[in-house]
Amino acid sequence: MSKVMIYGEIKGGKLKKTAFELAGAGRKLADELGGDLGAVVMGSQAEQFASELGKYGVDTVFVVESPELEAYNSEYFAQALAQVAKDKQPEILLISHSMQGKDLAPRTAAKLGVATIADCISFRLDGNKLVGKRPMYAGKCYAEWVANGSPQMASARPNVLKIEESPKAGAVEKIAFTPDAGRKTYVTKDLVLDTSGKVDLTEAEIIVSGGRGMGGPDYALLEEMAGIFGPTATVGASRAAVDAGWRSHSDQVGQTGKTVTPNLYVACGISGSIQHLAGMGSSKVIVAINKDTEAPIFTKADYGIVGDLFKVVPEFNKELKVLLAE
């Protein structure tokens, strides 16, 4: 019996890192509850990930296969996930709070007659009740939440939970799925993906962000810095830069954009409004580069450089190149 179940998201033919993050948290909860950890994966490509999931603590991998599950669709995926949950009766069901998870979790929850403790940064048990801690007001405060009903559903913020090896069987159990023909859904006509391999802000380990101080849409210096850091780094922006039309809205960090928790956040030409500070304040390390010594961003920065970003960033990039080449 899987007392705890996770949903493993597959993207571009690969199991996402968030699946292993969930496995780490799920394993601990399952051990405390004295039960097994199951993982649900969808599609004909999914079975190959069973051994990998096993390595990170999953006892049973439920592989749901159906032509409707080859590409993501909220209705089909929610039906399939709800079907497995109803059938296997886990006490806890964990999903990633990724772009897909945000779409899938609430629909699945509603099918199960429960709600999701969304965007958790940590989990614990109180007796046998799941307690999820989550930021609210974009991180201006936190609250612990409990779920009533069964299963207890929660989603976890990407890039926060620890990945830990814990070898288990990773045994495959195939599950047949036939979609409910009575439900209408949409058809995906086109998927336009950024082929640069850029990681989403919410899942980036390093974010190089630019604000009003950039003075215009030329973010080449910041793109260069993200490039030096490598594929886990990406470029973000403040609301001022997005509203000025310099960057896409999907790059916006802050209360009306994305709340991020990278290992390193480099704020360039960002003064640090309360909305922005809320959105990036739980980054592990913050570097601020700004010419205004009074800028609020310096009150949160671990390392602050007061100076013209157009003079500082090129030097910063030069130093980074030397260091990371070693």
Binding site: S74, Q100, R107, A110, E144, Y186, V187, D194, K300, L323
Partner: protein
């Protein structure tokens, strides 16, 4: 085109949030409330559809206490036709599932071609109500919408939505639930005549009982806390850029150990 716009009133983004000493919630004294920014995109989009098709109605649907009347009036001043305000003490601070149930019941009584929600509210940040409402009404959902084109026969729509690392183009039959994302449009401001007209527009008041809802909490907060206080670290001023950059880059490796 009859659009229902689900609208929530939330603390302004400038609000400094403080947790009550007993950890049961946040201090609400002195908070300035506004329309949830993502719901403003919904109002604007619904108004544009009514203008484009020169027919239909934009109905604002809000769950919340007395103060929410102001948010509904603001949407009416932007041009929405009327409002439905579900005001019931049992629903204050209700969880997303309970709210979705209330909205579903109200929507069913009202009828609709399209339902808009913000993709999330910037207060509790759950981001669940839109998809839950779609499921409860057995409608398709398209979340994180940045572009909407309704077909001339109003039977379907082509929608662009944000996905990780790009966008997805979707064709969806109507009715459906759409959740608005930044980029969808630039919301208009209420005009002075609009504000005057809004005063005469109708807001229907409803209770949970009117909708046949008995709220049973699916989620409950146990303790609110403030985030760990972040202190200012080292600051390098009046230094050559090259020198400051070198110190910080080295510190990131040797001290902070993040690179």
């Amino acid at each position: 085109m009859k659009s229902l716009v689900c609208l929530k009133q939330v603390p302004d983004t400038e609000t400094q949030i403080k947790v009550k000493p007993d950890g049961t919630g946040i201090v609400t004294d002195g908070i300035k409330y506004v329309i949830n920014p993502y719901d403003e995109f919904s109002v604007e989009e619904a108004l544009r559809l009514k203008e484009k098709f020169k027919a239909g109605e934009v109905v604002i649907l809000t769950v919340g206490p007395d103060r929410c009347t102001e948010a509904i009036r603001t949407a009416l001043a932007m041009g929405a036709d009327r409002g439905i305000h579900v005001n019931d003490e049992s629903l204050n601070d209700a969880d997303p599932y309970s709210i979705a149930q209330v909205l579903a019941a109200a929507a069913s009584q009202e009828g609709y071609d399209l339902i808009f929600c913000g993709h999330r509210a910037i207060d509790d940040d759950f981001g669940e109500v839109g998809a839950m409402l779609a499921e409860l009404l057995q409608l398709p959902q398209v979340t994180l919408v940045t572009k909407l084109e309704i077909a001339d026969d109003t039977q379907s729509a082509v929608v662009e939505r944000d996905v990780e690392g790009g966008k997805e183009v979707i064709e969806v039959p109507l009715p459906c639930v759409l959740t608005s994302q930044k980029g969808l449009n630039e919301p208009r401001y209420a005009s002075l005549p609009g504000i005057m007209k809004a005063k005469k527009k109708k807001i229907d008041k409803k209770t949970a009982a009117d909708l046949g809802i008995t709220s049973e909490r699916k989620l409950a907060p146990t303790e609110y806390t403030m985030p760990p206080e972040r202190k200012a670290g080292k600051k390098y001023e009046d230094m050559e850029p090259a020198e400051a950059a070198k110190i910080v880059v080295e510190a990131l490796r040797s001290e902070a150990k993040v690179i």
